[in-house]
Symmetry: C2
Subunit: 382 residues, 2 copies
């Protein structure tokens, strides 16, 4: 399952606290210079590793990824940049590569300085353990995730391997999504950028758990280029990997009891369709109704109505679990409240909203909002 040229490692560095157990510092190394691509949070408040990572991806090459959980290294000012660079330099020294070839990824508490004093002494052990510990690397970036998120695909003789940590938050801190996609397929920077950018909008940018955008969200893609493979196969394998990782993240949304697919069609443009879909996907009233299997379709129509997109309420139609609920803005004559309630008791919910006969369509993925979400995010960390 491992793409040629990549090795993995993870250790415990007590990053969240000295007595914190479990893997929290992970490393991925490529045997030579890899082609690098990636996308980053649109939050204007960007963590230090995001600011640094954006530079790497602009340059388009990298040799290693140093990742940690337990501290986001965000809102820590110039000190945060210095701390991230000292981690990069420590890795570079022991690998005999350039510090600017190391991509940093962090997730965890905001505003607290990275415990560099505990991290740096662990770097030698981290490098010494480099091998095939794919699971270890995944565990080192997991936070409140309830299951590991690793996806492997083949593209002819080439391989694609993906990792993610979820929108499960480091209770009680920021939601952050981190994703890493590795391949050994020979591919250009431009080709890799195109694949990542063409896939992100329908995957990681189409999921929401609570609408809060993290300071650290990052997806990094590296290619070792050691294997020749047909581009269409490589593209499909990378796209499937990214989509599957995104689905795993939303499935594991904090406190989620349901995975909800929201298909909006008939909008003037895909952008309008996305705005409407995300308005529904982020509505607290919709999400709490889904948690309670409440056949309360009015909340869906209302959320479409306040999305900001111009639409004609008289042309809205809604299907839930395949049942026709609303047509031309009105409840259908066949509407059966009890039947819809029962249809909403399942774990996977499909909502289809048509707002007209335009060409714009978008599929969003969300979760319900449960007591557990409040519990996870209301708890005071000490």
């Amino acid at each position: 399952m491992i793409p040629q040229g990549f090795t993995f490692s993870a250790v415990n560095a007590g990053i969240k606290s000295p007595d914190h157990e479990g893997l929290d510092l992970g490393l991925i190394v490529c045997s030579h210079e890899a082609v690098a691509s990636g996308v980053f949070t649109r939050n204007l408040v960007k963590a230090a590793p995001v600011l640094i990572g954006m530079e790497h991806v602009k340059r388009g090459t990298a040799r290693a990824i140093i990742a940690n959980s337990g501290n986001a290294n965000a809102c820590t000012g110039p000190q945060g940049i210095d701390d991230a660079r000292s981690m990069m330099e420590a890795i570079a020294d022991s690998l005999r590569i350039r510090a600017e070839d190391v991509v940093p990824l962090s997730t965890g508490v905001i505003g607290v300085r990275m415990p560099i004093g505990r991290i740096l002494p662990k770097i030698p052990a981290l490098v010494a353990r480099l091998g095939e510990d794919v699971d270890g690397f995944e565990r080192s970036i997991m936070t409140t995730d309830t299951f590991p998120k690793i996806v492997a695909r083949r593209a002819g003789g080439a391989r694609v391997l993906g990792f993610a940590k979820g929108a499960g938050m480091i209770a009680p801190d920021m939601a952050t999504t981190l994703a890493v996609v590795l391949t050994d397929a020979k591919i250009s920077k431009q080709q890799l950028d195109n694949i990542v950018l063409s896939t992100i909008d329908e995957s990681f940018n189409a999921i929401t758990v609570d609408g809060d955008t993290s300071t650290n969200d990052t997806l990094v893609a590296l290619s070792s280029g050691l294997v020749d493979a047909a581009l269409p196969e490589v593209q499909q394998a990378i796209q499937e990997t990214i989509r599957e990782l995104a689905m795993m993240v939303v499935r594991d949304g904090e406190g989620a009891t349901k995975l909800v697919t929201i298909d909006v069609s008939g909008a003037t443009s895909p952008a309008d369709a996305k705005t409407i879909a995300m308005s529904i996907a982020n509505s607290l009233l919709v999400k709490t109704a889904l948690f309670g299997a409440d056949p309360n379709w009015g909340r869906i129509v209302a959320a479409a109505g306040y999305s900001g997109v111009s639409l004609d309420p008289g042309r809205i139609s809604v299907r839930i679990q395949g049942l026709p609920i609303v047509e031309a803005g009105e409840q259908t004559s066949s509407f059966d409240e009890t039947a819809l309630h029962e249809a909403l008791l399942t774990r996977e919910i499909a909502i289809a909203v048509s707002v007209g006969d335009g060409p714009g369509a978008f599929r969003a993925f969300t979760t319900d909002l449960s007591y557990r979400y409040v519990e996870i995010n209301a708890q005071y960390r000490t």
Copy 2:
């Protein structure tokens, strides 16, 4: 406390269900033609009474308000308009006024036809009971509100009387805010419009419980014009009434355990300040942290960062309960996690966020997000 010229009444019409008890149909009548003003939901999906009420306010005069809870008369198509009109006509017939002088207000379940067959027979009793039953009218529009929202003010010899129902939702249906402001002060349509419009943005448009905009939100203001009073006094009394009603609504937000004031300053414009304030006020992560008294200021900074307003993270400063938490985008040296946690245990929370040295400022009001909110909104209505 009652402005001259107005009488009130309320009855039970079993609107939500035939066996539903309690007042759910209310009436306010002015002894002659009143000057009318108002503001309505910006949701593109507008309930029938909203569409009709907007016409009234455009014309600028009214004689009566017929209000009900238990059914929003929304998403019911042309039938909804017909049902609202038949209620208006029944009131007009028994009062010998014009149907177009009756303003309808509705709140309740969406998509279900108004039970006209139960409502119309109650109109005679409703009209017969017209008198000073101010409390009865308020109770007829209350839903999950935990306390009545009535405000009375004096302006010289003139009086101002305000009613509201809260963003407590008719579980499990839409949040709706209804407000009625009555005065006997002699005032022109233009003057009344100016006062209402100049006050709404800092009051009802500055509060949020869950960010969901109802299909029925309405504020209607009527003046009988029977008393001469100085305009500045009248303006102040009406403004205080509207502001106080808005505060009562947010205080009574569903499941709320805290009233949170968010002051944003230093923005380029008041509009930018409002966008940032509402982004923080609607953040689930901020609201759950406040519920748990979690000193998690990173969520506030992050919510400002994704508001969509261009800002410099390095210039953000945050004060919570007067404590300096963030300066120049970084945690202050005086930050004391335990002290902030204790400061957050109170019922009223003040958050001040400065994003630069611009002239734009805005004050928003919100609540925390509790288990009770999920409970109220997840319950299936049968």
